[in-house]
């Protein structure tokens, strides 16, 4: 497995002003893994995702994605990734299909490939029937599902999902899980950010728990639970609280 790392991040640092947001983070993700990024609000998850997706250059350290450096070769990195931002990033005056075709083409698909992929992914996230409607008329859950489908439409090697389920109903959430699992089965590597523990438990092969810009725990859900007792009884939430403390975060 060691030769097959798809993501290798070494000592990444970033600060907004004086306050470090990512404070010396190193990790490796194997090809085909679902890697969970957990942490309370303000832990630095989004900042780390934005470094991996080339939006923010790290102030120190580097990450290689498919062997390409996010610092030195961001264009090659961008050609391999799909991004689902924490906030919705869709055109409300276009239809679901048009959004998918547009972003598909921006990610390098040809016109016909983009149209075919749009139909397929629309079906995958359960939006086939509403595909020809403008997204303005979509519910919150539908918009979230489209937001995810856009990240996947060009079948990137790596998808970076930043809290893709925030604020959605259980049905939409399940559909999002199913979609991520289906794509992962086809070999897509996934970085999945969330602060819902049961999501991470269900989806992720390995999990990194962050707090205040640092890694406070990493491993399979089982590895993380073991120190606290019987893995069948301990929940990830217990792990999380024991690692990050019970103080309120904003």
């Amino acid at each position: 497995m060691e030769e097959n790392w798809f993501v290798e991040a070494v000592d990444i640092r970033h600060a907004y002003g004086d306050e470090p947001s990512v404070d010396g983070v190193s990790f490796r993700i194997a090809k085909g893994e679902v890697y969970g990024l957990l942490g309370p609000n303000g832990a630095g998850k989004t900042t780390l995702i934005r470094i991996l997706n080339t939006l923010l250059p790290p102030h120190a350290g580097d990450a290689l994605i498919g062997g390409r450096s996010v610092r030195k070769d961001p264009a090659s990195v961008r050609a391999q990734i799909g991004v689902c931002p924490q906030n919705l990033a869709i055109y409300e005056d276009l239809t679901g299909v048009e959004n998918l075709v547009f972003f598909g083409r921006m990610s390098g698909l040809s016109g016909s490939a983009a149209r075919a992929a749009a139909d397929e992914f629309l079906g995958l996230v359960g939006l086939s029937e509403r595909g020809r409607d403008r997204t303005r008329s979509y519910s919150g859950g539908m918009k979230r599902r489209l937001n995810l489908a856009i990240a996947l439409v060009a079948r990137p090697d790596l998808v970076l999902l930043d809290e893709p389920t925030v604020g959605v109903d259980p049905q939409s959430r399940n559909r999002i899980f199913d979609t991520v699992e289906a794509l992962n089965q086809q070999g897509m590597t996934v970085v999945y950010t969330t602060h819902y523990m049961e999501e991470a438990d269900r989806l992720c092969d390995r999990i990194m728990i962050m707090d205040r810009g640092r890694i406070v725990g990493e491993g399979t859900p089982r590895d993380l639970k073991e120190p606290l007792g019987d893995p069948a009884e301990v929940t990830l939430e217990d792990v999380f609280l024991s690692l990050t403390g019970r103080n309120l975060r904003d």
């Binding site: 939006l55 276009l94 921006m106």
Partner: protein, 394 residues
């Protein structure tokens, strides 16, 4: 990819009913204003002021004939009022039908029975009314001649028909001629004849094109505000791709609006030939590129859509005023020199030269080169500025 992005932008623009009506209604409204100002009614209309001292059926018939002329209204006055109006210059020409006109028509003749009382030449309107009245008098005279000839023939009893029958036949013929004249004159409308058009049209057109400044200025902040810029920046499009895409869509929008105005100008005013139309469109395209590039420069420094909109409007107004969209600066004056820094100036100059027929595209290469050069330089600078100022903040 940038082309496809521009295409989608245009699609979105055509979908936004508010945006679309505003930007398409504006050229129509401007044109309607121009039409109102320069007179869209291309045929003559005037008032014939008439004093009827005769009061016979024949004089009333004359007045009827005059009133039936297209574009002529008849105003009947009594003699003293007519003289007062003439004295006060509120009428420049009054026609007087003298007593004996009806009788004179039936025979006699020689005496001047129609009189024009006029101040000076009678004014433009008066001159035209007078010539129309002369035509009407001639017409009635010919009718009278035909009728009297017929009566002479009837009186000599050489025909079996009765005098009344002959008279009716002649009157019928006259009536038929009035409805469908043997010789008729057609007026071909060749467009509004106004040199003012050539002065105002380029300014309005360049204003229209410069709206592309505001459109492109807010294009990127709008993507940022709605959270899509992040996503766009992580696609293969990249910053340069986004820049080119937004530039092209701003250019196309400005150009489409201008194209509409040009086309309406050609169809409604016909103040320029189809060949000129082609040249105007080319100049407009260059200016639209320049406007979009100016917009991208604003986009690269603006942080909010409010900033972008304000900067866009201010730049549009300043470049329009300095560039001579509203009035042509006097040659060699201060404004003339300052104006040279405004790209609008080169667009206005080129358009005025084309409309006045004093140059064609070949002779305008300096203006076009300036516009193209300014666009290219601005694009490069704003692409750099964008990375420098917003690289971390996107």
């Amino acid at each position: 990819m940038p082309f496809y992005m521009a295409l989608i932008e245009i699609k979105r623009y055509f979908r936004d009913p508010g945006d679309l009506t505003l930007s398409l209604a504006l050229p129509v409204a401007l044109l309607a204003l121009m039409l109102g100002a320069f007179g869209g009614d291309s045929s003559f209309s005037g008032t014939a002021s008439i004093v009827d001292l005769d009061g016979t059926p024949e004089s009333r018939r004359l007045i009827e004939i005059i009133g039936a002329e297209p574009g002529i209204d008849v105003e009947l006055l009594d003699e003293s009022r007519a003289d007062r109006l003439l004295a006060g210059s509120s009428r420049l020409l009054v026609m007087v039908v003298h007593r004996g006109y009806g009788e004179g028509l039936m025979g006699g003749g020689g005496r001047p029975l129609i009189e024009f009382r006029q101040r000076g030449s009678g004014g433009d309107e008066g001159l035209i009314v007078a010539s129309i009245v002369r035509g009407a008098v001639g017409k009635q005279a010919r009718e009278a001649v035909a009728l009297s000839q017929a009566r002479v023939v009837a009186a000599s009893n050489e025909l079996s028909a009765s005098g009344e029958e002959i008279e009716r036949a002649v009157l019928d013929a006259v009536e038929r001629d009035r409805e469908a004249p043997i010789v008729s004159v057609r007026v071909e409308d060749a467009g509004v004849g106004t040199p003012t058009f050539n002065i105002f049209f380029p300014g309005i057109l360049t204003m229209m094109v410069m709206f592309a400044v505001t459109t492109s200025a807010s294009a990127i902040v709008e993507e940022k505000r709605d959270g899509r810029l992040e996503r766009l920046l992580t696609t293969r499009l990249g910053v340069t791709g986004i820049f080119i895409g937004k530039f092209l869509s701003g250019l196309s929008r400005g150009f489409l609006q201008a194209l509409l105005l040009c086309t309406l100008g050609l169809a409604v005013f016909r103040s320029f030939s189809p060949a000129d139309y082609g040249q105007i469109v080319v100049v407009t395209l260059f200016l639209a590129a320049c406007a979009a590039a100016v917009g991208m420069a604003i986009a690269s420094v603006a942080r909010t859509s409010e900033q972008a909109n304000w900067a866009g409007v201010v730049v549009t107004m300043v470049t329009a005023v300095v560039g001579g969209s509203f009035f042509e600066p006097a040659g060699g004056g201060v404004l003339d020199v300052i104006g040279r820094i405004s790209p609008v100036r080169y667009g206005n100059d080129a358009l005025r030269d084309i409309l006045s027929g004093s140059a064609n595209l070949g002779g305008l290469w300096v203006e076009l080169a300036v516009l193209a050069g300014v666009s290219a330089v601005l694009l490069v600078i704003s692409r750099r500025l964008f990375s420098a100022l917003q690289g971390e903040a996107v």
